[in-house]
């Protein structure tokens, strides 16, 4: 059983009739993911890649009561509502692909999810993959191969490059989690590190952070407690202040969110810092010693 999703996990897709969502539903099904239903209001009765479409999550769960995970592909203006709908209907993990969700919306969605003990991943996550088992989101299958390294990153592309550098060095991934590029995230580094720490299929973790926010810093104290090695790769060392770099969350605001600050916090708590991507497998080998 991998973290978050597994071979048996039944998932639904909110916003399933959108172009991107429809394409990736096909990719997910090809990968073996059990996409059992989708939602687009007003389009009940249609199908996408053979998956039935309903008007509401509530209707989905009436027909597919074992679905526990939803991925959300709706436009930013509808994202909060889609998340709240999933929570209200009883979904337990919500993977939010939508990017640039208004900050207040995401704060509120997080707040409600917290009260109901629901996990939100994202917004602006590329998704989650447990290579060879299940994939929810838009991660390219080609970048990943099964293995025993957990990876967690804010950026989708960095997730692929990290996996790429692991795979070139002979490592594979137990699960790769994209936290998302938005400034307010449902799940942060610490949450995922705790899952990996408990996961018997994970030997070490690579976390890839970037400028903006404080999620890397917040995770630092837990790294100290962990029994598994953590390699950290932080980007944005060369980034300017006060300018968003693509991701809504990737911005240095005053003293907050610098790469240097994150690196110091992580290093002081025992993470091994990889200055460039290519250093990640080197550090991993060193940390895992004879195991690999």
């Amino acid at each position: 059983m991998a973290i978050i999703i597994d071979r048996h996990t039944q998932t639904i897709v909110q916003g399933i009739t959108g172009t991107n969502a429809a394409l990736h539903v096909k990719f997910m099904l090809d990968y073996g993911t059990r996409v059992v239903a989708g939602v687009t209001p007003g389009k009940a009765g249609q199908e996408v890649a053979g998956v039935p479409v309903y008007d509401t999550v509530r209707d989905c769960l009436k027909q597919h009561p074992d679905a526990t995970v939803s991925s959300i592909w709706v436009p930013p203006r509808s994202a909060m509502d889609a998340i709240l709908e999933a929570i209200d209907a009883g979904i337990k993990s919500i993977i939010v692909i939508t990017e640039r969700i208004p900050m207040h919306d995401m704060l509120f969605a997080r707040h409600v999810a917290g009260q109901k003990n629901v996990m939100i991943i994202g917004g602006n996550t590329p998704g989650v993959i447990s290579p060879g088992r299940s994939l929810v989101g838009m991660l390219p299958r080609i970048a990943f191969q099964p293995g025993r390294i957990g990876t967690v990153a804010r950026s989708g592309a960095v997730t692929y490059y990290v996996a790429n550098s692991l795979n070139l060095a002979g490592f594979g991934e137990s699960t790769s989690v994209g936290l998302g590029g938005d400034p307010i995230l449902g799940t942060n580094f610490e949450d995922v590190l705790r899952l990996f720490e408990q996961d018997p299929e994970t030997d070490a973790v690579v976390m890839a952070g970037e400028i903006g926010g404080v999620y890397e810093e917040l995770a630092a104290p837990f790294i100290k407690e962990m029994g598994k090695p953590v390699i950290a790769y932080i980007t944005g060392k060369a980034a300017p202040q006060g300018k968003r770099l693509g991701h809504a969350g990737a911005i240095i605001e005053g003293n907050m969110g610098t790469a240097a600050g994150k690196i110091v916090a992580l290093e002081q708590n025992g993470a091994l810092i990889a200055p460039v991507l290519g250093d990640i497998p080197v550090l991993l080998k060193r940390a895992l010693g004879s195991v690999h």
Binding site: R77, P126, S155, G156, G246
Partner: protein, 404 residues
């Protein structure tokens, strides 16, 4: 995104928050200085902090003095920000300065109202020296500020007697503004009691959530449009904003044409790590159209600072073949002369490669300076190569076939 003080004060006024009587003057409206009651404060409109120390806040006793001061400031550049406007305000006599701010607490994921009896100074310093002097009042996301909460805050910072009700009113109004306009920060420093018994916001610092601007046409109607978090967009940045992709000017010579924002950030680091200087940050966003990809490439090619272009595509939601097509079409149509060093891997990599190879065989000369590496070349190697080529560009161009 940060607003100018005068924009913030216009929003304050909409929410009934009392601000000093003021006019905004730019190069074309100096005549407005006639309609002002002197003495006045003249405040350069810029995002630079500590304007007082920088001489960007001045006083004037009459119109002549005001005109001199305004003219001395307009058009100047401080810390990279050009000053186009000044705010002319009645000079009020201050009896007491307080601090009031509402912001998103990114650690607690809640909204926090920070207030203090000590305003008009650097609040971080106050917090550092006297943590008790800052009163924090938390609100769960989605909750309103009840009147009693506003009174609690007002009372805590010493607004009492006849000032309790207007103080609590101002706190409520600022909270409504914060919520309704999707703020990340709305700060009044100082909030003052004047010698003549008024409560007044003497400064206004408002940070909006750019991602929520779509639901605030009223802000666009006030001329509040997209900008950097702190600062105006450059010409190229405005072009990119219009074309729909993130772009930030940097001061190097290597144009960066990556796929994915996160890797765009990584690429800048890597270029600097290997001794190069990036000319920009850029992100195609998920699944860009052909037109957008060509616009992105064009923006780099047309930038005179750029001497070489580094490109990378890890095909995920965005496919390698689409990317290759866009590159090929741009090159054929525009016949660029700057070298491009690129890597392409991921979804549809093989199809992409075929497109590039076909183009090279058909238009060999056009593609002379274009190299495209694949999955098996680590990205670091590609960047090192780019940096090397950028250095070479300083020297006379070497001949020979650079195709792989």
């Amino acid at each position: 995104m940060r607003l100018y003080e005068y924009e913030g004060k216009r929003l304050f006024a909409r929410y009934r928050l009392p601000v000093p009587r003021n006019v905004v003057v730019d190069g074309t409206s100096l005549h407005q200085l006639r309609n002002v009651v002197y003495p006045v404060v003249i405040k350069a409109q810029t995002f630079v902090g500590s304007r007082g120390k920088a001489g960007l806040v001045q006083f004037a006793r009459d119109e002549n003095e005001a005109r001199d001061r305004v003219c001395s400031v307009l058009g100047t550049v401080y810390s990279g920000h050009k000053i186009d406007r000044v705010l002319i305000e009645e000079k009020v006599r201050i009896k007491k300065e307080l601090y009031l701010a509402i912001l998103v607490d990114r650690l607690a994921h809640r909204i926090v109202v920070m207030s203090s009896r000590y305003g008009g100074v650097d609040i971080e310093e106050v917090g550092h020296n006297q943590p008790d002097a800052i009163f924090k009042y938390y609100f769960s996301p989605g909750s309103i500020m009840h009147a009693y909460a506003a009174r609690n805050i007002a009372s805590e910072i010493g607004l009492e007697g006849p000032f309790l009700a207007p103080g609590a009113g101002a706190i409520s109004d600022l909270y409504r503004l914060f919520i309704e306009l999707d703020c990340k920060l709305s700060e009044i420093n100082p909030l003052v009691l004047t010698a003549d018994g008024r409560l007044m916001a003497l400064d206004a610092k408002v940070d909006l959530d750019e991602d929520a601007m779509f639901r605030h046409p009223e802000l666009a109607a006030m001329g509040i449009v997209a900008r950097h978090e702190v600062g105006e967009l450059s010409e190229r940045e405005r072009f990119a904003k219009k074309a729909g992709f993130p772009y930030v000017d940097l001061d190097g010579d290597i144009g960066v044409f990556p796929g994915g924002a996160g890797f765009g950030i990584a690429a800048i680091d890597l270029i600097e790590h290997y001794g190069g200087k990036p000319a920009n940050f850029m992100d195609s966003g998920g699944a860009p159209t052909q037109d957008k990809l060509r616009a992105m490439l064009g923006l780099l090619m047309d930038n005179p600072r750029v001497r070489v272009i580094f490109g990378a595509r890890f095909g995920g939601i965005s496919r390698c073949d689409d990317w290759a097509k866009a590159v090929v079409q741009y090159v054929i149509e525009n016949r660029p002369t700057k070298p491009m060093i690129m890597r392409m891997a991921g979804n549809m990599e093989e199809e992409g490669r075929k497109i590039i190879e076909k183009a090279k065989s058909e238009h060999g000369d056009l593609f002379r300076k274009i190299r495209v590496y694949a999955y098996d070349t680590p990205i670091e190697e590609v960047i090192k190569e780019t940096v090397r080529v950028a250095r070479e560009q300083g020297r006379p161009e070497t001949s020979g076939d650079n195709n792989r």
